[in-house]
Symmetry: C2
Subunit: 564 residues, 2 copies
């Protein structure tokens, strides 16, 4: 049926009178999706990006309607065929992984209901379900007494948290609240929200405001600094220790400097917020939240925890200790599309003090009236889908007990992978994994031995305060070797992509054990419940083969030059 008159159009907008038609399409689609998942073959389709460009280069919007079956066929051949199989157990490169298949059914419900969470007039039961879910998560984080949740679970005048589009929006919401709390309304000042940053600085006598986070902070925090008008440069990166955690001594020293300068009467700086990370994006490590909380408290800064990656582990009591201090935070970001296994994207922001939401509150006459139940009064976003159903139902179906199994399995996978790498002659571990992210690189045995000697010499020389010409030369050689290793690992990664039997991601950052030199690393994220130790062995063995081939062909000669 193509819609050539209004009667045809109407049929598209209504459930067919008989359920048969709907079932027919539905079943066809269920088959199609089923075969996408069970199909063997590569993770990425072999199509070149240039050819994809060509497929999607119709510069003009179609005027004539196409049959639904035709469009579904087009989607099958052009889109589904060339999508990335992120759920494949050999795909261990990104935080996007497998999702439970019942999510697909839930998406149907969400779309069919077409509720808009901004206001109760378009979101009745869904408003209350969302508040219930938010209270569950808030309780995991802050563990306030049951009495508190009994009273507040459906309270319309506060917001224990918000469902948001993603982690970026969660961090934006948290730091917006932090900024607004830092420069609040007074008798003769309307607050930074209404008067702006320039007036706020004038009123409160500041010249600058800053947010502290470790060097491993997510790039969204820089974005947020730029958006909020405090300036991206004022999102200040604190150095990390050897395990990729914020060096809290340096944090405290920086805060102290600022306080002293503020007292000295020069230009004053306001510390708006200090951000602790619970699962860095690149290495999966968790900051010392307790200590960061203490420092934030000492200097009167908002304490935000970016637990986009790791926060869901709070579902399992035995992992709670890793997050010690999170209960003292003012706000916490958690992404449901990471370790709650929702599809992208569903961020969440939680506030210890639900009345912090007043720093976000806005109302309007035609919707979100002041005295309403509308959750849109407290959100940065406006129109918003009923995504909370996915998280709510996932928790019910899998249960905290089920998540314990999932996370236990993921921890086992990470340990296995680390063991495989450490015991392998031709690989090197590049971080101490905490939360399912393991960094490593390919380094043939002969190169590894040389580099170890160099690194040890430099390390002990520097530890003894030596800085003569010889150490300098060693350090230079070490640096050069790492640069060649970077090229080798980039080549290897390209080759892995081409072979397309598995996928790990590649990144580059300053590696503590190489004196913070930027090194290219391979990054494995082992959270797919379908991945096994056997699969990890296969992946690494395959990478070893590819790596040795590339090494022999293009790199062995280059490493010969390094004499140690």
């Amino acid at each position: 049926m193509t819609p050539t008159n209004m009667e045809h159009i109407k049929k598209l907008f209504i459930m067919p009178n008989s359920a048969d038609k709907f079932h027919e399409f539905g079943n066809e689609l269920l088959d199609l999706l089923h075969s996408f998942f069970t199909e063997k073959g590569g993770i990425h389709s072999s199509i070149q990006l240039g050819d994809l460009e060509k497929i999607f280069s119709n510069t003009e919007m179609p005027s004539k309607p196409q049959r639904l079956t035709e469009v579904l066929y087009e989607i099958k051949t052009k889109v589904i065929a060339h999508s990335v199989k992120v759920g494949n157990p050999y795909y261990i490169g990104h935080m996007t992984s497998a999702i439970p298949y019942f999510i697909i059914l839930l998406e149907m419900i969400i779309a069919a209901l077409n509720q808009n969470q901004v206001k109760i007039e378009t979101a009745k039961a869904s408003t209350f379900l969302e508040r219930e879910f938010i209270a569950w998560m808030h309780r995991l984080i802050y563990q306030l007494p049951n009495k508190f949740y009994k009273k507040n679970i459906q309270s319309k005048d506060i917001a224990l948290g918000n469902m948001v589009v993603d982690g970026t929006m969660a961090n934006l919401t948290a730091l917006l609240v932090a900024r607004n709390k830092a420069f609040p309304e007074t008798k003769d000042f309307g607050g930074v929200r209404f008067e702006g940053i320039h007036e706020a600085y004038k009123h409160y006598g500041y010249d600058r405001s800053v947010i502290f986070v470790s060097k491993r902070g997510h790039y969204s925090l820089d974005k947020v600094g730029r958006i909020l008008g405090i300036g991206g440069n004022n999102v200040i990166k604190i150095p990390i220790d050897s395990n990729n955690k914020m060096d809290t001594k340096i944090l405290e020293a920086r805060c102290d400097e600022i306080e002293k300068a503020n007292m000295a009467g020069g230009p004053r700086t306001k510390i708006i917020a200090i951000v602790g990370i619970a699962g860095t994006t690149e290495t999966g490590n968790i900051d010392d939240l307790e200590e960061i909380g203490r420092i934030a408290d000492k200097y009167g800064a908002h304490f935000h925890v970016d637990a986009a990656w790791g926060g869901s582990l709070l579902l399992v009591d035995k992992y709670r200790d890793m997050f010690k201090g999170i209960e003292k935070s003012d706000s916490v970001t958690i992404d449901a599309h990471k370790l709650l296994y929702a599809p992208p994207s569903l961020g969440m922001i939680y506030f210890r003090d639900g009345s912090d939401a007043k720093h976000l509150m806005h109302t309007s006459n035609y919707i979100i009236r002041k005295d309403s139940f509308d959750i849109g009064r407290f959100s940065v976003e406006g129109s918003r889908p009923f995504s909370s159903l996915k998280a709510w139902a996932t928790i019910k179906i899998i249960g905290r007990n089920g998540f314990k199994l999932i996370f236990d399995h993921a921890f086992e996978l990470t340990s296995s992978l680390k063991k495989i790498i450490v015991e392998h002659d031709n690989f090197e571990a590049m971080n101490e994994p905490e939360l399912f992210i393991f960094n490593y690189r390919f380094i043939p045995k002969e190169v590894h031995e040389k580099i170890k000697v160099l690194r040890d010499r430099v390390s002990s020389a520097w530890a003894n305060g030596e800085c003569g010409k010889e150490v300098e030369k060693d350090a230079e050689e070490l640096e050069k070797m790492n640069i060649v290793l970077n090229d080798l690992n980039i080549e290897l990664h390209k080759s892995i992509r081409e072979e397309d039997e598995s996928f790990v991601s590649r990144t580059m950052f300053d590696i503590p054990k190489y004196f913070y030199q930027n090194c290219v690393i391979l990054r494995a994220i082992t959270i797919n419940p379908l991945t096994t130790e056997g699969i990890l062995n296969e992946i690494i063995e395959h990478q070893n083969e590819l790596g040795m081939k590339i090494f022999k062909k293009h790199f062995a000669r280059k490493f010969k030059k390094f004499k140690i």
Copy 2:
């Protein structure tokens, strides 16, 4: 099956080996959704909010897994049963309306593929499809030569637009670009993005920056002003004319004042952006975009058009004239979850100059590398679903021709409703509808006659410059009558909600013909392809009955007091 061991969990994460199981659940759900739509009965469930609170007041997250069928049953009885039937043809109160049923199928595909649009490593075909769709829409707005689109449709170094979560995010993105363009990088200044607003003002010698929009601007623009750090008070509302459009003479005068003050050497103000509205949220009117564009150009401000509501009408050539001037804008917001009939929420932002995206550009090493195809380099959001598939497929299936039918029908509905109201003794039209939004109120004939006399007297007296005691008394009486009418219409609206056979929304704003007094109005949005003229007649007749009952019981006496 409840997941009590890892083998059970794994089964949840994989398509069942046989498609049967998936079909079984799928079919059950298809039936469930089908019956939700075909079921007769009220728009809202009759449940009280207090009872919904009780249903969703489990303060503790469940530990034990529940069977999928159990949870689906719970969703059916607790959620679906108490959802708002926004697709019902008698529901004409909000912009959320019916969606084509094939969207439900598309959501299944999107969830199953689980692509994350932030980077090509998790979004292969979907990255290119999204760019194609964006080019289509860009072309509708800006109508640049085919050559331009051939060259740029898949260009990875610019962004003709972004798919975003909603209209708020679209406006935020546009005005963020505007702010960044207003205070750019120079040799000795890093730009407002990196150094912040305070430093930007210092560097460029400003004390304040402003954004202009009419009084009918969407509340999201205030939010954006607060978020961006320029201050909500600096989002300045220009008065409207008698048809709810920005008074562009006043706009120009305000710009002129600022320019003169800037020249005079006092504190200087930067006009960051001027926002034209193409479909105000409350009245559906379109600003004079051509004139606003001219003024923005004259004063060097970014010209943004908030066409969240109306923008999709550009799909139909014959409605293009209404938007004259939009092609001169720097950026345009359009919401697909409004007149592209997508479910909430899917906002879009388009930039005439695709290289404006450089003011948003950010990169990171582990994803969105500088030289990549990743569209996440240009977006405020990070992780993002493959929602563009819905808009792309909708356009294909319905076609521009099909949208012509849909919009023609919606225009007819609005005209019909206006005719019904104008010809009815007991109602009053409160705006001149342009884009499917019609405001009216209940006003019994006898009251209407009195209020007309008063209004005419005041109007002609004021037109003649009279302002004696008598006019003043008339004006006071008029105001008092409107206040009682407000109460009457609030009561009527409550009664409509209770009866629950149809739904219109209620709001209150300054009505031009009542000398900008705040009046409560009923607001009908007639865009559901399944709504008919007959239905509109039924709705109004029913409201008349309810209104007369309330009037006789509680209000007739109150109006008796007014002598004219």
